[in-house]
């Protein structure tokens, strides 16, 4: 079968366009202490933050490139631009956003989505969040949804208390890099017992070539509160690679409920190396719903540390790897208290020589009795040249845990395709239907518009690849 079509056929016109506008402010290539000071100075940061950055930079330099997962050796840190800003001010009305940036987000449907079903929107273009808005009623309830830079200035106590505490700067090389060079990202605080019924969304867009985007997101859900945050990302297609190394920290205090949904659809020249971690306290629930379609290499393992009794983790992910892509994704569930529950469901699809890896950690610490944990990973391989691996790690230190682990690798059967084709569907349609069925467990968790968009993207892929 001749199936050498590019992953994300249709990406070019829909997301792959670029704005030929020079950033207003841009640092020179490469990272050093001067560049970091320049970024910090531009942001008029307090001294504790500049110290934080410089310390992290030292750790970043001292840590070797990780060799245990996908191949990252081609990343040249000296060729990357670490800071670029399209505008020198943020706005909360679309009128004030620079025209070309506005056009970009219009094309991507962001303001439309905001009008339709979102409670708040943030839009980051390269390094800076250029637009932020939160519905009035949520604001009046005390909900904070702003960009991380503003939060450092306006809410220093909250930021100091949690920033870098869930994911310490030394956690891994890319968390250290982010801690040194971070810019933008979202800051959310939900006061006790407030239920934010509509999702809040941030959209991340890389435009500059050879760019590194290092947004930093911190979500604090106070006792008994509830919030759903959605993150989407795209970039133009350049011949050279870009880097996206984000850090996302979630604090779910007693009885709260946080859901974090990601639809990552980077262009196939972006290294997507993201650290995501949540601390779930007594009876709190954290859900990661993580979809990875794009990028060249993704390494991402959303984690939940269940800190206190009754905490719950639910990690649901889908990875789709086409030609030249490696999706090394997974999940970590760390049980640090009794009666904690985790469910990990991972679905992956690879085709045209793409590679998917599931990498997961399930840990039950001593003293964490009566833990329930459930891991399922299903892989679908669409042709002979693609590859899928599973790397599960389990560290169980309590005897009374109830643990299940299930892994399945399958192919789309000739008979299944034939069955659907006998009803009048083309091979591509039949293939799409089987794949969409395979990830249905994931799509049904998405807001309607995202589910439709995801299905549409996958159909597009299949149309291109089945002759």
């Amino acid at each position: 079968m001749e199936e050498i079509l590019q992953i994300n056929k249709g990406y070019e016109e829909k997301y792959g366009f670029k704005d030929d506008v020079e950033s207003t402010i841009k640092t020179q290539k490469g990272l050093n202490e001067d560049v970091i000071k320049e970024i910090s100075k531009y942001k008029k940061e307090p001294s504790w933050m500049i110290e934080f950055r410089l310390k992290a930079y030292g750790i970043f330099k001292s840590k070797p490139m990780p060799q245990w997962g996908a191949n990252l050796n081609e990343i040249n840190f000296d060729e990357i631009i670490y800071y670029a800003s399209p505008s020198d001010k943020k706005s909360n009305s679309w009128e004030d956003v620079p025209e070309y940036v506005k056009k970009t987000f219009d094309k991507l449907g962001i303001p439309e989505a905001e009008r339709k079903f979102l409670g708040g929107v943030g839009a980051q273009y390269d390094s800076e969040v250029i637009y932020h808005n939160l519905r009035k009623d949520l604001e009046e309830q005390g909900v904070i949804f702003t960009d991380m830079d503003t939060a450092v200035q306006k809410y220093p106590d909250l930021v100091k208390k949690y920033f870098g505490k869930i994911i310490p700067m030394g956690d891994n090389k890319f968390a250290a890099l982010n801690s040194a060079a971070w810019s933008g990202g979202s800051f959310i605080y939900v006061p006790p017992n407030i239920d934010v019924k509509v999702p809040l969304q941030a959209y991340f867009r890389i435009n500059t070539k050879n760019f590194g985007q290092f947004e930093r997101t911190l979500i604090i859900a106070d006792k008994g509160s509830k919030v759903h945050y959605i993150e989407g990302c795209t970039a133009p297609i350049y011949s050279s690679d870009s880097l996206h190394a984000a850090v996302v920290e979630i604090v779910a205090l007693e009885g709260s409920n946080v859901r974090y949904t990601t639809i990552q659809n980077w262009s196939p020249n972006v290294y997507n190396l993201v650290t995501k971690r949540a601390f779930a306290y007594k009876n709190a629930t954290v859900e990661w719903v993580d979809g990875n379609l794009g990028s060249k290499i993704t390494m991402k393992y959303p984690s939940v540390f269940m800190m206190e009794e009754g905490a719950k983790a639910n990690i649901l992910s889908v990875a789709f790897a086409g030609k030249g892509q490696h999706q090394d994704a997974g999940a970590k569930a760390i049980h640090l208290a009794p009666n904690t529950t985790s469910t990990i469901t991972s679905k992956s699809i690879c085709k045209d020589g793409g590679r998917t890896s599931y990498r997961g950690l399930l840990q039950v610490a001593k003293g964490s009795t009566k833990v329930k944990a459930n891991v399922t990973c299903d892989a679908l391989i669409l042709d002979e040249i693609s590859r899928s691996d599973t790397y599960p790690t389990m560290k169980i230190h309590e005897q009374d845990s109830s643990i299940t682990h299930e892994a399945n690798v399958g192919k789309v059967g000739e008979d299944q395709l034939f069955y659907l084709m006998c009803r009048g569907l083309s091979k591509a349609e039949a293939m799409s239907m089987i794949i969409l069925g395979f990830i249905e467990q994931f799509t049904k968790e998405l807001p309607m518009d995202y589910a439709i968009e995801l299905n549409r993207l996958i159909q597009l892929e299949m149309e291109g690849s089945v002759g």
């Binding site: 299944q416 009803r423 239907m433 249905e440």
Partner: protein, 244 residues
Amino acid sequence: MKLEIKDLWISVNGKQIIKGLNLDINKGEIHALMGPNGSGKSTLANALLGHPKYKIENGEILLDGIDLLKLKPEERAKKGLFLAFQYPLEISGVKFSNFLFSVMKKYDHELNIVKFKQKLNETLKKLNLDENFPNRELNYGFSGGEKKRAEILQLLMINPQLAILDETDSGLDIDSLKLVAKAVNNLRNPNFSCLVITHYQRVLNYLKPDVVHIMVDGNIVLTGDYELVNEIESKGYENIKELV
């Protein structure tokens, strides 16, 4: 719709299964195809729809004079050919009703969801299926009998011109069998033809085929009217072989 099969030879994985078979089904006729296990009945059914595993070595299949062998399975379906599978495939995560709506849109581009639901509910009643049945995943977790009834549900919805029923009767209890046979009988009209593949007389008692064929070892060895069914039932295939 007239089906003509001329000197058909089919192999599977290098093994010759169908050996020079000839068969004509005229518009409006119901034919039964009987024969022992391994005689090639299902091979013929799958090859008629173009399963890639079945290699046509020689021969012709014409549907109203059109060369079927040049067409892909989905094109054959759109020409009016339908196969009710002996072992319907399970497709998890795909809602039966969504699947069926996508399929029906292939035959009727104008079809809207209201019209579809209306027809679906009527058809479910005919087969004594629950109205929630289409909310289940396609064949996934269905019992044997449910799978067979789901095939007939599709048949009734699509309303093809030539239907092949590949052992639809096996796995059905007597009540379901009656429902299915009655529903297929209701399709009988001058434009509907049907090939019923079966081991048993039971279903044919209700369907009353116009022509009955006995297939042994890759070929039709005996063709007759409904009387032939009774003869098979009393004598068995072994003795029929001697008759030939």
